[in-house]
């Protein structure tokens, strides 16, 4: 008996890790383990020997359980010490490489603008990219012989339709659909027939904005635009300059310039030495456009704005060539890993 006890104690003490100890544990204390066998064997002993044997076996059981527990604790302590020691931990060693998806930088900025304006109660709309002459020009107070048509370098389709030259057609579409009062933004793809170079693209992104309500004024326009620029350019030091600009669908029309962040107004290449960056053409909606949208210009006024998204993205990230946007080059695209 004592020999077996020694063997068992030896087995416990020599278990090198938790798994080995567990094996010993189940060999001793399992359903068909050695202790169970001993307990069972008591019944086969002569009756007078049973109490002593029972007592001895019980003592042995308690002793083994304790040794087992002690050993478990020792092993756990050892393991913990090893875990803490971290002998080969290299803080610079990365995990396995992983492909990382990205959104196009224009999508990133567009989504931020959408979030901003929808939080201000604007409806997010889009219109067709292949447009009619009516929505793209006539409804926007650009009649057939208007010089603005000549400057807009339109892509004309052979079926008489055209590729929209701006997102402004959505103004009239939205007015007709929703009536007044109305707050709407419409970011989207536009087209102009021009040669592509570092600062010109025939395919570009604009975001149209329109507010129509009773009593809307130029003062409201200025406030809304400043709010928008603060968020989108991620700057608090926004100064704007509102100056005359001509667009047939607004009256009066403005160009809104923002103070140049690159030179802090001293004049640099980005702002063409003026200290200001032209960023937001806007204006008070022309009465004829309200009428085209089925809204009474005597009862309602409104303002509209259009923002070139490429320009905003280029300003924000310091991108120097507009051709990257439509170039499909992952080395460019993967740099923008914000997902908005």
């Amino acid at each position: 008996m004592e020999k077996r006890r020694q063997e068992w104690l030896q087995a416990i003490e020599s278990a090198a890790d938790e798994a080995a100890l567990k094996q010993v544990d189940s060999m001793l204390f399992g359903k068909k383990g050695a202790i169970q066998d001993l307990v069972k064997s008591v019944s086969s002993l002569p009756a007078e020997e049973r109490p002593a044997a029972g007592k001895a076996y019980n003592q042995l059981k308690v002793e083994l359980a304790k040794v087992l527990d002690d050993r478990r604790e020792v092993l756990a302590q050892e393991q913990m010490q090893r875990d803490l020691a971290a002998p080969d931990f290299d803080p610079t060693e990365p995990g396995p490489a992983r492909m990382r998806g990205t959104l196009h930088p224009i999508s990133v900025v567009q989504n931020e603008l959408v979030d901003l304006f929808t939080s201000l109660g604007f409806t997010w709309q889009d219109g067709p990219e292949i447009e009619s002459e009516f929505y793209n020009f006539e409804a926007l107070n650009i009649p057939d012989d208007h010089p603005a048509r000549a400057t807009q370098d339109t892509f004309w389709n052979t079926d008489g339709t055209l590729l929209r030259t701006h997102t402004s057609p959505v103004q009239v579409r939205a007015m007709r659909r929703f009536g007044a009062p109305l707050k709407v933004i419409a970011p989207g793809r536009c087209f102009r027939q021009e040669a592509v170079d570092a600062s010109h693209e025939h395919t570009f992104y604009q975001m149209e904005g329109l507010v129509v309500d009773k009593g809307v004024s130029t003062a409201n326009l200025i406030h809304t635009m400043k709010t928008c620029l603060r968020v989108i350019l991620r700057r608090e030091d926004i100064h704007v300059r509102l100056r005359p600009g001509f667009f047939p669908f607004v009256e009066p029309g403005f160009e809104l310039d923002v103070n140049c962040a690159f030179c802090e107004g001293r004049g640099c290449k980005v702002c063409k030495q003026s200290g200001w960056i032209e960023i937001l053409p806007c204006g008070m909606v022309h009465p004829k456009v309200l009428e085209a949208g089925g809204i009474d210009p005597e009862e309602y006024t409104g303002f509209a704005f259009g923002m070139g998204l490429q320009r905003v993205v280029m300003l924000r990230y310091g991108i120097n060539d507009i051709r990257y946007f439509m170039g499909g080059d992952l080395r460019f695209l993967e740099q923008f890993d914000e997902v908005s």
């Binding site: 959104l103 507010v211 004024s217 130029t218 005359p244 992952l330």
Partner: protein, 795 residues
């Protein structure tokens, strides 16, 4: 447009203003000034030299060796000069070693063909003063050597470059006088009256001018002038014109250009002797041709407006004169035209012929007919000053009898304040309008404003136009910002736009794909390569290139076109794009091609295949968005020739197909030089929204443990996973909680035509813990019945 400060100073005294002040004043109230340049910059230090001697260069026929006194008591300089007009005793302009020409060329002392040259005697073109490069500048002999050139000839000028776009609607601003008028109003300065009227003889020579189409030509004034000579214009005029980018030709042409740049009124000077006794303004006849000044023969249509004489075209109205009637050195008598042509007529002809001139650009703005006559007076007045002996030889022809009918607009004070968002004092409204030559009378709710004719032809037509005048002169940046009072309404939500955004985000985050933007045009070569060239497309009539005129029906081919280049830089490329496809075969009520928003995805890997990764990712992405799609059937016959017909699965919901996921057709992959097994997918967003999202329902979580059982079925290769999975589910009835394929094994040790589908079947019950008997019972049932799906249970 270039505006000269010297020129402006003829009409308004800008002495107290820096060029920057002038720029800011115009930019903030009128039109954007893009740039200020100094004409004659860098010439301030050049001095006048006195040519003492001139000898022929000993070793070069065309060169002269001169000694030039440049004053200040110094030694005369020896200068080698190449000009043929250099001569002794001339006063010339000298640039010395160390100084630089406006184009940056540094002058150095050197030897020319062996002769020392201590500088250069300059021509106008070298100094950037004109294009004249035939000879050196020869100045009046009164000037003494050593005096600064810029002191004796006043060429120094600040030139403002105005953004043309910002004055397209303002015909009155296409000349210096109009800009001067604005500056006078903004800066509160006095504006000089415009020229002095000239008396024309009551009788004498006059051509018989008639206008056949008054709509196309509301006014035509013409005057015969005798005693003219096409001499060289005086320096001040040549420099002034050159400063604003206008080449000097001769006095007669220069004066027409001067008036055009002064008043914005284009004019044309005909040689009187080359016209007959009549001038008719008429439409061209079909098939008629004429040769314009640029020696190009022009085919005309009935849309074009002509000036004719003796039945023959002599000018393309408002665009360019004819070759046969132009003035030249021999001209002694002029017929001077100053007319008003209809903007759209001029524009159409000019666009059709690709012939845009300074004149046509101005007529396109809709000019004020009053300027036609004003221009003639201006021209004659200046001509008489510069060409003594020139005089009108008869009365002014002006058959249209045009007279300005004053436009009067009511400006309501309440609307003015409402639109600007400020209260403008009445007195200020009045003074602003009057400074711009509007007449203002009080009315009960505001003012009655009479528009001056130069503003009435185009840009001022309604009350809001007057509000703009007040606003810009008040200066918009004096208007305070005021928040919108909010409209309390839940904004309409466009599901398709939101879905596009959500799917993009999911594609980036969940599929680890990169979003690209591609053009809406697909090049013919690409369409050819993907086998889709013959489908119906919306065609752009004036594309960027003839072979890039088709508007894409589907986004996917665009994606395929960006894989190759990126695979050169990356082992594995995953791209997606959300964009529109255009389908001209179905149109909306406005006749517009049907537009389909698509999410297209392509995964490519050098040498490998990504189909299953894309498939799993896409299904999970859709499920997360609430769309439960089935992937049971191959994608049927469609307009998608790039899909692998046997390895592309339709994404369906009931009978509706919402997209596909599969593999690129191997032939298309070869055509595009792409690796095998490119995985592609497409979703039609509107279709997805049509079939709708599934509502999530809560399922009770079992309190009892579940039991996973691995089941491997050997089946002929034609048997589908779904058939087997359904079988495994059905066999266990309520006890089967989930059936999941973890491997489809096609190994060498399996018989030919057989695959092993290895599933994990999760058994469980909501009311008890299963025991080993349940598992045994399940497996024996599977073994017993698996023949139903041609399967054999392995192991």
């Amino acid at each position: 447009m270039l505006i000269s400060s010297n020129w402006l100073n003829r009409y308004v005294d800008l002495g107290g203003q820096s060029p920057e002040d002038v720029r800011d004043a115009l930019t903030m109230s009128t039109a954007e000034v893009e740039k200020i340049t100094t004409f004659g910059a860098g010439l301030e230090d050049l001095v006048i030299g006195h040519v003492l001697t001139r000898e022929k260069h000993p070793d070069a026929d065309k060169l002269s060796v001169c000694t030039v006194d440049i004053g200040a008591g110094g030694e005369p300089l020896q200068i080698v000069c190449g000009a043929s007009n250099v001569a002794a005793d001339q006063r010339v302009v000298v640039i010395q070693p160390g100084q630089a020409l406006p184009d940056g060329t540094k002058i150095k002392q050197g030897k020319i063909r062996g002769q020392v040259s201590m500088g250069m005697i300059c021509s106008e073109s070298e100094l950037g003063l004109s294009e004249e490069h035939d000879g050196i500048i020869v100045l009046d002999k009164d000037y003494s050597a050593g005096v600064e050139f810029s002191r004796v000839v006043s060429f120094l000028d600040h030139v403002l470059e105005i953004d043309n776009k910002s004055i397209n609607h303002r015909p009155d601003l296409w000349g210096h006088y109009g800009i001067a008028r604005e500056l006078a109003a903004i800066l509160n300065l006095e504006l000089q009256e415009y020229g002095r009227p000239v008396e024309f003889p009551a009788s004498g020579e006059a051509l018989d001018v008639s206008i056949e189409d008054l709509a196309a030509c509301p006014r035509y004034t013409g005057l015969c002038i005798g005693g003219v000579k096409a001499t060289r214009s005086p320096d001040w005029l040549r420099y002034l014109l050159h400063a604003v980018g206008q080449r000097s030709i001769n006095l007669l042409v220069d004066l027409t250009n001067f008036v055009m740049l002064d008043l914005g009124q284009p004019m044309h000077a005909f040689d009187r002797r080359r016209l007959r006794s009549d001038v008719v303004v008429r439409r061209a006849k079909a098939g008629e041709t004429m040769t314009t000044l640029d020696e190009m023969s022009r085919d005309l249509t009935e849309e074009d407006l002509l000036i004719t004489s003796g039945g023959e075209p002599v000018a393309l109205a408002g665009i360019m004169g004819g070759q046969g009637s132009m003035v030249d050195d021999e001209t002694t008598e002029l017929f001077l035209e100053s007319a008003t042509f209809h903007a759209a007529t001029v524009r159409r002809t000019s666009v059709r012929l690709g012939l845009r001139t300074d004149s046509s650009a101005r007529f396109e703005k809709t000019l004020d007919p009053a300027n036609a006559e004003l221009g003639i007076h201006r021209f004659v007045g200046m001509l008489q000053d510069l060409c003594p002996g020139a005089a009108p030889s008869g009365p002014l022809a002006d058959p249209a009898q045009w007279r300005y009918e004053p436009v009067i607009i009511r400006l309501r004070k309440a609307r003015l304040d409402l639109k600007l968002g400020i209260q403008v004092p009445d007195q200020q409204v009045r003074s602003i309008l009057e400074s711009l030559e509007f007449e203002v009378r009080d009315a009960d709710d505001g003012f009655d404003v009479t528009v001056p004719s130069m503003r009435a032809s185009k840009d001022i037509g309604i009350e809001d136009d007057l509000i703009e005048e007040i606003g810009r002169m008040f200066r918009y940046d004096n208007i305070p910002e005021v928040p919108l009072s909010s409209i309390v309404a839940v904004p309409h939500r466009d599901e398709e736009l939101n879905l596009a955004r959500d799917l993009s985000r999911a594609a980036a985050l969940e599929l680890s794909a990169n979003e690209v933007y591609n053009y809406s045009f697909q090049p013919d070569a690409l369409l050819e390569a993907v086998g889709a060239r013959e489908l119906e497309y919306t065609i752009v009539g004036n594309p960027v290139a003839p072979e890039i005129c088709r508007m894409r029906r589907h986004v996917l081919p665009s994606l395929l076109s960006c894989l190759g280049a990126n695979l050169r830089n990356y082992q594995s490329v995953r791209l997606f794009e959300v964009g529109k496809g255009y389908h001209p075969e179905s149109r909306d009520q406005d006749g517009l091609a049907h537009e389909v928003s698509e999410l297209a995805i392509a995964f490519a890997q050098r040498g490998g295949s990504d189909y299953s990764v894309l498939r799993t990712g896409l299904v999970s992405l859709l499920k997360r968005q609430g769309f439960a799609v089935e992937l049971d059937e191959l994608m049927g016959h469609t307009d998608l020739p790039w899909i692998h017909p046997g390895m592309t699965v339709a994404l369906t919901s009931g009978a509706e197909v919402v997209g596909y996921v599969g593999t690129l057709h191997p032939q298309i992959a070869r055509n595009l030089d792409l690796p095998r097994g490119v995985a592609i997918a497409n979703l039609d967003l509107r279709q997805l929204l049509r079939v709708g999202r599934k509502e999530h329902k809560f399922v009770e979580v079992s309190r009892f443990p579940t039991q996973p059982v691995d089941v491997a079925l050997m089946v002929p290769t034609g048997v589908q996973v779904k058939t087997c999975a359904n079988f495994l589910r059905e066999v266990g009835r309520k006890l089967v909680m989930n059936v999941q394929l973890f491997e489809a094994y096609r190994g060498a040790e399996l018989p030919e035509g057989v695959k092993s589908l290895n599933f994990t079947v999760t058994l469980g019950a909501t009311d008890r813990t299963l025991d080993s008997k349940d598992e045994e019972k399940y497996l024996s049932k599977v073994r017993e019945r698996c023949g139903e799906v041609q399967a054999e249970l392995r192991g």
